[in-house]
């Protein structure tokens, strides 16, 4: 059994070069998304999606102190979090989404039937269907294939002992790949170092520090320098399936109660 693998994306080192986006698209043969500058910034891929498995966010935060104050750039290469308790995986009715021997979350493309339930079940808006009415462009050469897609943490490369394409391409080691326990130890040291420099750094994705709770520790975690929502990340992601049994219980109570009431109101005087 291989150990748990993951990413640590240290945003304090990100220079916004998008080498990760390009390497990901090349290795996984994903088409381009068009060049359209979004959010009045250098973002041109908008969000993660069926054909964008790494996405670099560019948030420009004006510094305090009025005009002329230095702009604060928050750049982060976003990716599927490979959650310990993954909403997409628990929602999947076909078993297409599986947990691999590397503890990553992968969609088996020969099983997925495009029901789309994983899409609203991901707490981070990662996975997406490649369908005609979605915003995603066509998968190269295949037309819209109607199936769900997201980062595989380069499952094929991992099986051959290679690191994922994005981590390999990152020129500043903002993205590093490795055993989750090693990444955790590294993150702890790095956060302390950044805090020592007066930065508001913390490790997002660590249950202890308060990144997540419902979804457990994130296989792909981040070192952030500002509040999560500035990077479009939720403070406290919730695992949807924790609501299944309570929701079914109230539903069943209402169904049995109303059926009984209807039987009482309707029956008993025929013939």
């Amino acid at each position: 059994m291989a150990t748990s693998k993951g990413f640590l994306t240290d945003t304090s080192l990100c220079i916004g070069c998008k080498a990760c986006e390009v390497a990901c698209k090349q290795w996984n043969q994903l088409p381009m998304d068009g060049v359209e500058w979004l959010g009045t910034s250098y973002d041109n891929t908008h969000s993660l999606g069926a054909t964008t498995w790494r996405h670099v966010t560019f948030a420009e935060l004006p510094g305090s102190g009025g005009a002329g104050a230095q702009t604060n750039w928050l750049m982060m290469s976003d990716v599927c979090k490979h959650c310990t308790h993954a909403g997409c995986l628990e929602a999947c009715p076909t078993g297409a989404i599986m947990r691999t021997e590397f503890d990553t979350v992968v969609i088996q493309q020969d099983v997925c039937n495009g029901c789309g339930y994983c899409v609203p079940s991901c707490p981070f808006g990662v996975v997406e269907l490649d369908v005609a009415h979605g915003p995603a462009p066509t998968l190269a050469g295949a037309g819209h294939d109607g199936k769900a897609h997201k980062c595989t943490l380069c499952y094929d490369r991992l099986q051959d002992g290679l690191e994922p394409a994005c981590a390999k391409a990152c020129p500043t080691d903002s993205i590093i790949f490795g055993d989750q326990d090693d990444l955790w130890a590294h993150a702890e040291k790095r956060v302390a170092e950044l805090q020592g420099k007066g930065l508001n750094a913390y490790h997002y994705g660590d249950e202890q520090v308060g990144g997540t709770e419902g979804v457990g520790r994130l296989g792909a975690s981040f070192i952030l320098l500002d509040e999560p929502h500035k990077y479009n990340l939720p403070e406290h992601p919730i695992l949807p399936q924790d609501h299944t049994f309570p929701g079914l219980a109230t539903m069943a109570a209402a169904a049995v109660g109303l059926a009984g009431a209807i039987a009482w109101a309707l029956m008993g005087s025929e013939e």
């Binding site: 789309g116 269907l129 929701g247 059926a259």
Partner: protein, 311 residues
Amino acid sequence: MNEGRDGVLTTTDEVRSSYYGFPVIKAAHWGWLVVLYFFFGGIAGGGLTIGALATLRGERRLARLAHYIGMAALLPSPILLILDLGRPERFLHMLRILKVRSPLSLGSWALTLLGLFGGGAAGLQLLSDLTGKPVLPAAQKAFAVLTLPFSLFLTGYTGVLLAVTNIPLWARNYLLLGPPFVASAFSTTLAAISLFSEKHEDAERLARAEVMCAVAELSFLTAGLVRLGRLGRPLTSGSWAAVFWPVTVLAGLLAPLGLNLAAAGSGSVTMRRASAVLTLLGGFSLRTVMIFAGRESARRPEDYFEYTRKR
């Protein structure tokens, strides 16, 4: 965006409170096919439930109508669901496994088994009607017992299916999304039954049951909206409010309630028919607004951040 003093663009609150207002999560792709399925599935569940109960109680007239209506609604359901898949030819993959925490997995199995048991019950009903005498009455009762768990499940699991996602409008309300779907499933079933019911003395009883369902649905919806608070805005003041208030609530719930109560005094057949038609319209619109307002909810980063705020 603001024009800075020196003409340079500077960022505003948008980027301070979210990432340029971009959605954080992705909406479900569900549209009209799923709305139609939710509508028919509710009547299938309601019809086969009432049919089964009537069989067990020996109410032949009611059993016949309820079984036929339930079956007529059940038949298009899988077709609608299969058409909604990105890869329709792979629909059988739903039955590779069972996941008890995935409402969609549970629903696929419930629909399949209901087709088996409810189909058996409705088939025997049809044979009995064709031959003019009860065919295998013991088997009819057995099918009724087997049908009930799955038909009851079908009345409301669709609400739970929506709730078990990250869409704030659905997810925050996870305890109270199933119950109004249940009430609406039964009220639309009763409305369909009353449209086909010929016996005058049945009308009185049907109206009584319809009133109960409408009151239940109103209470569940109200409690849900209270629970949602500001997260309910896509429904109560967003673009779907123009359907939710006038069609779902006023025409679909309050009007039939009034008509049924008025008809109880006057015995007017027209009023009862109008009430039934409005109830069906209301049930359809409930599913429409819930599904489409969910898309609006997914587009609002501020709603999602509120839903996932640490408490």
